[in-house]
Symmetry: C2
Subunit: 373 residues, 2 copies
Amino acid sequence: MRTERGPRSVLIAQSSVLTQSCWRGTVRIALDAMGGDHAPAVTVAGAVAAARNLGLEVLLVGRLAEVEAELAKHHTQGLSLSVVPASQVVEMAEHPAEAVRGKPDASIVVGLKLVQQSRAQAFVSAGNTGAGMAAALLQLKRISGIERPALGVVLPSQRGPVCLIDGGANVDVRPPWLAQFGLMGSIYMERVFGLQRPRVATLSIGEETTKGNQLVLAAQPLLRELPINYVGNVEGKDIPAGLADVVVCDGFVGNVALKLAEGVASMIVSILREEIKAGLLSSLAGLLLRPVFQRVRRRIDYAEYGGAPLLGVNGVCIIAHGRSNARAIESALRVAARAAEQDLVGHISRGLQQTLVRQPVGDGRQVSDEPGE
Amino acid sequence: MRTERGPRSVLIAQSSVLTQSCWRGTVRIALDAMGGDHAPAVTVAGAVAAARNLGLEVLLVGRLAEVEAELAKHHTQGLSLSVVPASQVVEMAEHPAEAVRGKPDASIVVGLKLVQQSRAQAFVSAGNTGAGMAAALLQLKRISGIERPALGVVLPSQRGPVCLIDGGANVDVRPPWLAQFGLMGSIYMERVFGLQRPRVATLSIGEETTKGNQLVLAAQPLLRELPINYVGNVEGKDIPAGLADVVVCDGFVGNVALKLAEGVASMIVSILREEIKAGLLSSLAGLLLRPVFQRVRRRIDYAEYGGAPLLGVNGVCIIAHGRSNARAIESALRVAARAAEQDLVGHISRGLQQTLVRQPVGDGRQVSDEPGE
């Protein structure tokens, strides 16, 4: 993904510098410099790494003084890094929709506007997930025909990355939405992760077609009609086993599943550490195994897969984990660049036009646009 | 839990031997000797261990010749073990309700009849979960006032056992059912695990009361009215962290969560093993750590907690994991004995009478009695 561009001086840009919307042969990504538990230190570090290692142009959106102070800690000569000022920050605990409405100059809002105005090709944030989704919906709008955008969270498995969709954008969903989630997840894994005919499955309580709740049973025939490789149901244990590349579920189940998987991994690591430290010999053996534990951690680390795309909005928006470190931010920027280069949004839009997965218009049921979390 | 009873000769009993329904100072439990992936070898081994270590009387229900052949491999003198003949077996892959209807002499059906006829105080099966639930509902019926029985699966956490209810009996549920699940789970953890005022929580997508899908949001006020220690929402990661003792959810979410947790643990163990074996030094260190790994495995092992009670039926019915080994069967028998001794069913029945958690009668919605799995 590294481009042919030569070095270029760091721009501590005012917004006016960025009115040019043409790309100079590289991908330009807006990063919410203020978003995440360790911002702006790790966001700036991640941006520096992405600019250096991937040749990306990164627009750091946030409080000028704070971001510049962080930038000063790095060697940035020759890297395409700019700062776009945004005076407000949505905190992690704030109510998503209210925060987005009440803080028009928040880094999340300003960053997404850059994408909406074609001044950046993608946006990345490790901030308040709900606010990121609400702002993306507001600024970018849905792709025409998409019922509800969904969060496609990419997880490690024994056989490679698995996209769980919806990871938490929609807690009460309808069968046609699930079908669209499957289509979007399939296009994402094909375009961004390079998988051929990704295996798309519904998450359920048994492999047999007859197993499932009313939602899953109603979504199955809709998924079967789509021009995707729908393989039927998988169970919870099949996600880490990697039996499907795209696992479709509602955002309630998806959110519970993601946090549970994280919690189980963390419990095992914690119990293992405790037991190793309990004896002298085992402590010693534990020291010898440190590189092994590091490799294991790397293989089960969310950071490898670089954040979750909000699929179905009219632009590339990647939501990274709030606990992201610099490597996770760099991964998210890489994924964002790949999604932009591959014209992910165009592929979803065209993929949708080819299908008949449309919810009947005017069926009287109103569902709020506001993400569940 | 060991009783004062002296040794007693093995009975290879005909059904007629068991018509006496009085207990001779010990707990008598019917075990589905044919149920589970490794039956009858592990079921018989587990029964022998429970009879020896816990002083239980176990009725082994199954094909006479097969069970006797397994019994002959053990020293059973002085143990209270009997065989109750049942000529049919429900296989793991069979459709639950059809199998129960079509095989009246199946070990699951015969075993539950022993409880229904008060010839055993509890029933344990590691066989087809759905068939176990369907047969229990048919033979034992619901406790008066219970909307739907639910599976209370006890999981390991960093702070001790956590009961996830419903673990898969009801895939499409209603808010009042969730409230009853909370009540039953609370009574179970109090009576069988000896917890004082167990912390009961709803599984949701955030800790705040406003976070959840329609089902959870509607169940919250009902749970708040109950005479239990309802602590609000927990998230997926809070289950392994042990932030609640009883976690309430619908059976779809519960089943996905259980299988996912199992899958994540298995993935981590498998990746760890692979990485350790990749080098000579790490293989050596891995050997040194073998006792540590065994302790870790034990701490995260489902077998410690001995199967899942089907709560809400009029009798004690414990469903053990299909992959149960002898130790897991022994644990399940111990839990069954404890539930019987503690009069779990009586406590649930009385607990229910004290509450007002009743679904409005005749609201027109029909839901099948057949378990989802």
